[in-house]
């Protein structure tokens, strides 16, 4: 198989999908006329532009060498997992446990796990978070909350 710029092929296809969603969904809203545009007009037009651009990017890439980018799943999963854990837990158990979850999970982004420095970091960051955000900016989040 010939070597092609698969990164751009994938990117172009993704853009076509996004463009399709927006232009089809825009059909649900009133399109209106050029003189009196409805809420669907601008997004419908942009969606069609995006489909065209996506097709152009993907087509050009078929005639060009390139490499397939290699995603690094470990940092991707660890960082997003940490944020997800934080957002699910913070209103439920409070700021300090959520910070520990965020720091604990996101350190798995790197292969070498170091429990002690991670623990110290989590404690330090919890203190900073409580001082700056709870007290300084008066966000209505307690340091701890007992859900039971």
């Amino acid at each position: 198989m010939r070597n092609r710029d698969w990164g751009d092929v994938i990117g172009g296809i993704l853009l076509v999908i996004v463009g399709l969603y927006f232009s089809i969904q825009a059909g649900e809203y009133d399109l209106g006329t050029l003189r009196r545009m409805g809420p669907g007009f601008f997004p419908r037009t942009l969606g069609i532009f995006l489909i065209a651009l996506g097709l152009l990017i993907a087509t050009l890439a078929l005639f060009r060498d390139g490499d397939l980018p290699k995603p690094r799943l470990r940092p991707f999963a660890a960082i997003l997992g940490g944020i997800l854990a934080f957002s699910l837990s913070v209103e439920w158990v409070g700021m300090v446990p959520a910070t520990f979850l965020l720091v604990g999970i996101s350190t798995f982004a790197e292969p070498a796990a170091r429990p002690v420095p991670t623990l110290i970091l989590a404690v330090a960051l919890s203190v900073i978070a409580v001082v700056i955000f709870s007290h300084g900016l008066s966000i209505p989040l307690p340091a701890f909350r007992w859900p039971f």
């Binding site: 990164g7 751009d8 994938i10 990117g11 993704l14 853009l15 996004v18 927006f22 969904q25 825009a26 809203y29 050029l34 003189r35 545009m37 409805g38 809420p39 601008f42 997004p43 942009l46 532009f49 995006l50 651009l53 152009l56 990017i57 060009r64 060498d65 980018p69 995603p71 690094r72 940092p75 991707f76 960082i79 997003l80 940490g82 944020i83 997800l84 934080f86 957002s87 913070v90 209103e91 700021m95 910070t99 965020l102 720091v103 996101s106 350190t107 982004a109 790197e110 170091r114 420095p117 970091l121 989590a122 960051l125 900073i128 978070a129 700056i132 900016l137 966000i139 209505p140 989040l141």
Partner: protein, 498 residues
């Protein structure tokens, strides 16, 4: 001498203890995050946006602007010492700065970039105070057609002048414009593209999308790439920073040219610091008597781009403040900060809020003097900060992202939005799509739709209105010329440089 009276008002505003404090805080933080690779001005400013709710408008802008131009100073430090740009605009400084460091001349390079940065910023500030009010006067005559054409020009310029392929840039702008459509339509009240989620009724939160695209995804990408961090041995002594007579005589003309190039590109809507510094490097290489010295530690190649990006950081405020058109994504966040305070940036801003406009300009002078102090004697501290391992840094960045996004609306949903756009941003980095045009489109999307609707309503649906009004026609012609140039260069290049 109206301008002197105005500057007098400006300095009176900027020298108030509170504004001075926020100016210092801004430039200090700006230098810090500029020095550190992996977190930039954009992420920092979006982090600070929630804080600015609690500040008066002038203090908020003074602080955010300080972060922006402070980062331009700090950015070159990591470029010179580690061959790793602290900010995108400082990438050019690697080309000749790192070879200088390897020759043991890191101190000179750091000294001369600071001098150049100050010179560039000064030129930029002069341009801003002279041309800003003039452009605002012209802007008063703008109607919806002119605004639409100008935004179109800005978006096309932002996407075609960047380093990536123009088609991908334009695609990102269109994607951003579409994301800007999410939420309630102001004209009809219709809910658009909300997936039935109540959290999206007011649209996607600006801070959440910016933090996701520029904070979270940068962290994911940096973890794998930021391991080779070793600072040149011995540290930087003040004595090693003294330039030779030859260095000085080689540098002053490039500084002037860099300042000119930077001021010009900074003021163009859609261009920005990165473009200015690359252009200035290209100019120096072209006018040099011996171009082969470039890339091997030529001081001109370090000084000129650094002067240019600082000049552009100041003139970037011209279109932002006087026309309400952000030059780049960071400026778009500044616009957001102004709008939070109920100030609509545009031609009326200079006359309606003279204390804000001139106070900001005066704070730029003060901030730049502070930056010289921060960067020359204290350079050793910044060098040592580069030695902080990234594994201690990124959990802190993530925590500030989460809490910063949460604090805007006290909404966990927004934190989730930041996570989703972190994933989107990482995919974009992998596939080499730039996130900055997307954010610019996102912010301009609702404004563009509004002006398009109004222009066509006034013209009774005649699209020719954009070409009949002279100023609008000028923007349209410039847009088409840019597009034509982009297509030409694409055909000639065939293969984009990786």
């Amino acid at each position: 001498m109206e301008i002197l009276a105005n500057l007098g008002l400006g300095f009176a505003t900027a020298f108030s203890p509170m504004n001075l404090l926020y100016c210092f805080f801004g430039v200090f933080l700006g230098t810090l995050i500029g020095v550190l690779p992996g977190i930039g001005a954009l992420a920092t400013i979006s982090l600070l946006l929630p804080v600015t709710f609690h500040l008066p408008a002038t203090a908020a802008l003074v602080m955010l602007a300080g972060v922006y131009y402070g980062a331009q100073y700090g950015g070159s430090t990591a470029s010179i010492l580690l061959n790793l740009p602290g900010t995108p605009a400082a990438a050019v400084a690697c080309l000749d700065g790192y070879p200088m460091a390897k020759q043991g001349r890191a101190g000179v390079a750091l000294f001369m970039t600071t001098v150049g940065s100050f010179a560039g910023a000064s030129l930029g500030i002069v341009a801003l105070s002279v041309f800003g009010p003039k452009i605002a006067e012209i802007g008063l005559a703008f109607g919806p057609a002119e605004y639409f054409s100008m935004m179109l020009l800005g978006l096309i310029a932002a996407s075609t002048l960047s380093q990536q392929s123009p088609v991908k840039g334009i695609a990102m702008v269109v994607f951003g414009l579409l994301l800007g459509m999410v939420g309630t339509d102001v004209n009809s009240g219709a809910l658009r593209f909300t997936f039935g989620l109540p959290g999206l009724i007011d649209g996607i939160n600006l801070v959440a999308i910016a933090m996701g695209l520029f904070g979270v995804s940068e962290v994911i990408a940096s973890i794998t790439s930021l391991h080779a961090g070793r600072v040149a041995k011995g540290g930087i002594s003040l004595r090693s920073m003294v330039p030779t007579r030859d260095d000085l005589s080689r540098s002053w003309l490039p500084m002037l040219r860099g300042g000119g190039v930077g001021s010009f590109f900074g003021a163009l809507p859609g261009a920005g610091a990165s473009i200015a510094s690359f252009m200035s490097y290209a100019v120096e290489k072209r006018v040099a008597r011996d171009p082969s010295r470039f890339g091997k530690g030529a001081i001109e190649g370090v000084v000129a781009p650094e002067t240019a990006n600082n000049a552009s950081a100041q003139t970037a405020f011209i279109p932002t403040l006087t026309l309400g058109i952000p030059g780049d994504a960071t400026m778009a966040l500044m616009l957001g900060a102004l709008m939070i305070h109920g100030i609509i940036p545009g031609p009326g801003l200079v006359s309606e809020h003279p204390d804000l406009f001139w106070g900001l300009i005066a704070s730029f002078w003060i901030g730049n003097v502070l930056l010289v102090i921060l960067n020359l004697p204290l350079i050793g501290i910044w060098v040592r900060i580069l030695a902080i391992p990234y594994r201690l840094l990124y959990p802190a960045i993530l925590l500030f992202v989460c809490l910063g996004v949460y604090s805007i609306n006290n909404s966990v949903f927004d934190v989730g939005v930041a996570m989703v756009f972190g994933a989107v941003g990482y995919v974009m980095i992998l596939l080499r799509f730039e996130p900055a045009p997307l954010l610019l489109g996102f912010i301009l999307g609702p404004l563009m739709e509004e002006h398009l609707r109004r222009a066509l309503l006034l013209s009774r649906g005649e699209v020719t209105v954009f070409f009949e009004r002279p100023i609008s026609a000028g923007f349209m012609i410039a847009t088409f010329l840019l597009l034509g140039w982009a297509i030409l260069s694409m055909i000639r290049r065939r293969r984009p440089a990786a």
